[in-house]
Amino acid sequence: MKLSKKVVLLGHFGVGKTSLFRRFIDNEFSEEYKVTLGVQIKKKVIQLPDGRELSMIIWDTEGHSNTVEDTRKSYLLGSHAFIYVFDLTREDTYKNLNSDLDYLKNNYNKVVTKVIGNKLDLVNENEASKRLEEQRIPFDCLTSAKTNENVQDFFTDLAVEITK
């Protein structure tokens, strides 16, 4: 049977979830902001280092405006990984990050959860990392969907992790 894993993109609206989704799946980027309503789902087949093929089913969900609890529960069913995306230029997109992570951990403890700070092209990486550390904001990766910085590597690493 084909290896298939469900990955859900979560986070505030306008943080670049759809841009990351499009960058990873189709290697495309648009400056134009288009709101996502509900969920868009696409599949990408990834060649794993051990030769297996993974069918990554990515759910690009509608951004919430407050906490991740606002996301429809049914979208999260059967997930193998959550990618919580925040915008490095908007503090309000990560002010609830720690409580959101607690919520995910308490309700979906078997699901791998990763945190991405996106829009790296708009900030100085060192300053941004330092600021996040000072504010005790955990993150796994800083990306730019616009420049494709760290995007492919992030998803590849995630694919390996969820198929271990």
């Binding site: 298939s4 469900k6 609206f13 306008g14 902001y33 288009k34 709101v35 309503l37 509900g38 969920v39 868009q40 789902i41 696409k42 599949k43 069918s55 089913i57 509608e62 951004g63 405006s65 429809r72 049914s74 979208y75 069913l77 059967g78 997930s79 230029t89 908007r90 309000d92």
Partner: protein, 512 residues
Amino acid sequence: MEDPKDKLQFNPQIQVTKVSYQGIIEETDTTLFKWSKGMLIYDTHPFFEVLRTLEDSHFIDKKELNFPCIHLEEGKLERICDLTIKPNGQQITIFLYDYTDKYKEVNQIAQQKNESILLAKELELRNKYLLEKEEFKNSFIANINHEIRTPLTSILGFVQVLEKTPLTFEQEELARIIKRESRHLNSLIDDMIDIAKIESGTLKIVQERFAFRDLIAGFDETYSKAAKEKEISFETYVESNIQEYLIGDRTRVYQILNNILNNAFKFTEEGRIKFTISKNYQRTNKLSLTFKIEDTGMGILEENIPYLFERFTRFDHDKQISGTGLGLAIVKNLVDLLNGEIKVISEPDKGTTFCVKLPFKFEITKTTIGRKKKKYTLPPNKKKFRILLVEDEEITQYLIMKILISQGTYFVDIAINGEQAINYIEKRQYDLILMDLTVSKIDGYKASQMIRNNYGDKFISEIPIIGFSGKTDHNARDKCIRSGMDDFIAKPFEQEELLYKIIKQIAKKAAD
């Protein structure tokens, strides 16, 4: 999000599909999508991969699962559907409700709402960025100012030292050029700092009593000499009913008039420059003056006049004349800050007239006694005076040493930081301390406070202290005085000014 009642009004089209637990379509209609019996549901859209992951536990509380607002594509066709998945014996029944039109409507509203929030955030961010940039620029200018003024002090100072040595005529001329250009560079730095201060709103206007007629006499003296050199005529007329002393910002009034006069001289090669000061009105203790500066210079094209006061404006014919294009921008900003008005009339090849109206105040009760710069002499009881120079830059140390030692009346000790200065004054008696404000370990302000407060011995606690620095923000002098210093001198300083201040402080101390 959408109100379910609203959604009902849409009467969605529905497709019902039955699949086996292996995902094979066993029964379907084609109302929305062209699926057929025997197809694998997983091949129709990645959404249905969810069926592989669903477990019985997901259905424990409910008999069905609902997935609202799912974007389903088939080729180029996209429908936004609500899906209901219902286990039914050996089959799973999937109900697809097409709400595309309704969701597209909701989408527009959400788009507008989110866009306006994002735009507000973007503006906030841009504003923050501009403020940070402005802050960086101001601090950069303040720092670069200090860095430039220090070597400039050395250049100006050493040229003055050099001028006092035997020089050939040619060397004398070269020294004169270096001095002139250094002063010009210094005034350019002043312009840059003023523009930065004006833009950041930190330029403070002061109201002080000053000798107005002396100020005008100073212009007359300086520019009469310049006119003589250029072989043009310069005339100054001051209405006799204008007070000797006025209240206003002397420095800024000087800057405005000096800039305009300087410009008039730059652009006038023949003819005359006329400087007229007249009174517009006087009420109680307020008066308004008009300063008119007329020249017979090259003039300005009418279409260029509106751009005259913009920063870095230099017209084609200006290019051969030195300048930054900041002078008139500063003038306009200063006139505005002083609540004045400025007008220009000009005709190419005939000349230009600048009219500046400025408000002032004057004291009604006080008599207007002239305040001439008082002369001081060193006390005759000592032949030599010991000065402690607190300075960490070698070049400035050398310059001040040269200036003081050439007078033949001073011994100079050098401390390279505040801590060393404190050690020195405890061991030796000094007549004066020249204190750089930014020395290391203990800075000039702190060291002065310690000298004033920590010693019972008057020979230490009352040593005259003159602070000096290249950082010439408006409160440097006030800060020096508050720290217990007696005076302040800004870099780059003229040799005469430094010596005057030293003699003044030593003489004052001796008179106490």
